[in-house]
Symmetry: C2
């Protein structure tokens, strides 16, 4: 077994553990910084590692378009190409094909789409996605799925789920390299029946881990929590559960309480670039705002990240205000530290029996 649960919470479904991969262990519950195009935005891989990340996420769609799989493969695979020697999870490209590119045609074996960069046409299906992720050399490979938009009628969601299940079965049938783990993705929009059906179908196919997809796409937060609650009971307890694209700090805690082991989200890095910092218990402050122009305290006085130990709000605000890259860098460090530190706290709490949530 590559996944080992080490502690369980008595009052919730929260658990802590270790997911073993070819490039090292992932301590769970884990947050995966997003390195869309082969870089966690504004960060060096060494900085990401120093912040305590065990694993980063790469986007198959973006890397497939630029620089292209051939270059990454010739460069020794994604780990070597980007200088990150720890685990990498790659998504399947499905989500970006449906959200970013111009769709041309959905076929039984995949999707014809036009690149959001220059309109050139490509085809991506389970076969292609698995081949790309094999060539990238990801430690955790995601099955190719269709992600439903929100809102989505139940009949549309059911139709989409039928395709998704066939594509995920086809993904499972593709060859992967030794040491690569394949995760299935539960879909079904906000419908309990479909989520349950999807989970059961995937478990029947059999994967090394199970993700919950199609959330954080605009639905109310209560739907997010409910979908997780509906789905987790149908997933094997001894496999890792990954909630894709979620979320805010309190959502992460609530979903850990509902049995989730892995998260990824662009929020900490994206908000940093917009001049917003996470502080305290997960509140945000707009450091870029004029009211901080003469505030000579750290971004978060209780924080011990590089930004907070060395610089003031007034300085970071000035940098953001005049468009200096260093401002973005400092808030990115701060926000990723906040998220990774949150996961560290959550793991410790689960281990020593003090984990809490609003569940």
């Amino acid at each position: 077994m590559s996944f080992k649960i080490e502690a369980k919470c008595k009052n919730s479904k929260a658990r802590s553990g270790i997911l073993r991969t070819s490039h090292g262990d992932i301590r769970t519950p884990a947050f995966m910084p997003v390195g869309t195009r082969g870089s966690v935005k504004a960060m060096t891989p060494h900085e990401v590692e120093d912040l305590g990340a065990d694993v980063i996420l790469g986007n198959t769609y973006h890397l497939f378009l630029k620089p292209g799989t051939e270059i990454i493969q010739n460069g020794g695979g994604l780990h070597k190409f980007i200088g990150w020697n720890k685990p990498i999870l790659t998504d399947s490209g499905g989500y970006q094909v449906f959200s970013l590119s111009k769709l041309c045609k959905i076929r039984e074996d995949g999707v014809e789409f036009a690149s959001h960069i220059d309109g050139s046409k490509f085809f991506l299906g389970p076969k292609e996605s698995m081949q790309i992720q094999r060539e990238l050399g990801s430690d955790i490979v995601m099955a190719f799925d269709e992600c439903t938009p929100y809102p989505c009628s139940k009949s549309d969601a059911a139709k989409s789920l039928a395709i998704t299940t066939r594509w995920e079965r086809a993904s499972r049938e593709q060859p992967l390299d030794d040491g690569q783990q394949l995760f299935g993705i539960v879909q079904g929009s906000v419908y309990q029946e479909l989520r349950e059906q999807s989970a059961k179908e995937l478990v029947e196919i059999g994967f090394e881990g199970y993700a919950i997809g199609g959330l954080s796409v605009g639905e109310p937060e209560e739907d997010l929590f409910r979908c997780v609650e509906w789905t987790v009971p149908f997933l094997p307890e001894d496999k890792p559960h990954y909630l894709m694209g979620v979320g805010l700090p309190h959502q992460i805690r609530e979903c850990v309480a509902r049995g989730i082991d892995m998260f990824d989200c662009v929020i900490p890095t994206r908000l940093a670039r917009h001049g917003t910092a996470f502080v305290g218990n997960g509140e945000t402050i707009p450091v870029k705002a004029g009211r901080f122009s003469a505030d000579f305290t750290p971004v978060d006085p209780g924080c011990d990240c590089y930004c907070c130990k060395n610089f003031t709000k007034a300085y970071v605000r000035h940098l953001l205000n005049v468009g200096e890259i260093l401002g973005i860098r400092l808030l990115t460090i701060h926000n990723l530290h906040f998220y990774l530190n949150l996961m560290c706290d959550i793991r410790k709490e689960i281990e020593n029996g003090t984990f809490y949530s609003n569940l």
Copy 2:
């Protein structure tokens, strides 16, 4: 004496030494990375220090406009505000007033100008510039001068020089804080007679160091070298000589041979942001170019900077190509390393008698 010459070249005017300041020693010949708005672009102060910079330059004009002197002063001065505890040289703001802002009126006591940011009006003269630089707390303060454009007729240059000398004398008469050193700036465009006159007038006023200004403004390289040759003999040998805004690696070497001790230039950081790297003996390569997309060698195989030790041209090219900040960061590190390493080489060569130039 705060400036101590430690070695002299036998075949040229090159010399190495130490310039002592309130925030530590500057090894000369020195290159000063430019931190225009309180940040060496894309870099943390710790990274700049780790690259071996002894001193950085701050721009009075930019800092005066944003965040404003009051904020920096309330933040404990420029060193504390930006988190750089080593020496800082600030320019007088004169150059930017004449090159960036919309001039409104030149008066006997300074210049009325409209900010290039929002058009709001300000006044800057020797009195104001010295007060700002005192409030910033710079270790080396530059006298307020008028920088002539290129080309400039001899009569215009002579008229400008007359104003400059009066402004520099007025700068000298302003109070500075203990430990702050004031440097005068030789002007006179490309005219030997005016350069000589300017140098003599400044020496008569008396400064802790002497800069040569008004060069690297578009004149042919031979004019640059000639102006330095014409000026240095009239400067006190026991004071530091600073060539403002210069230049390319070979120009730095040639000007060291002509008796220059200090340089600043935006070229290494600016070219990095444009995707260009210095390699070998000072040649440049456009790393952003498509021909490097599958080049898995370092930016400069002979270089031991963070970028070259950890990443390939193909990766850096990809980052630049898709607009990732990390690409800019890596080339900025590389180019600053190139410049600071060049100065290190030059100092060693002077000390062990192997310094060479085309002089």
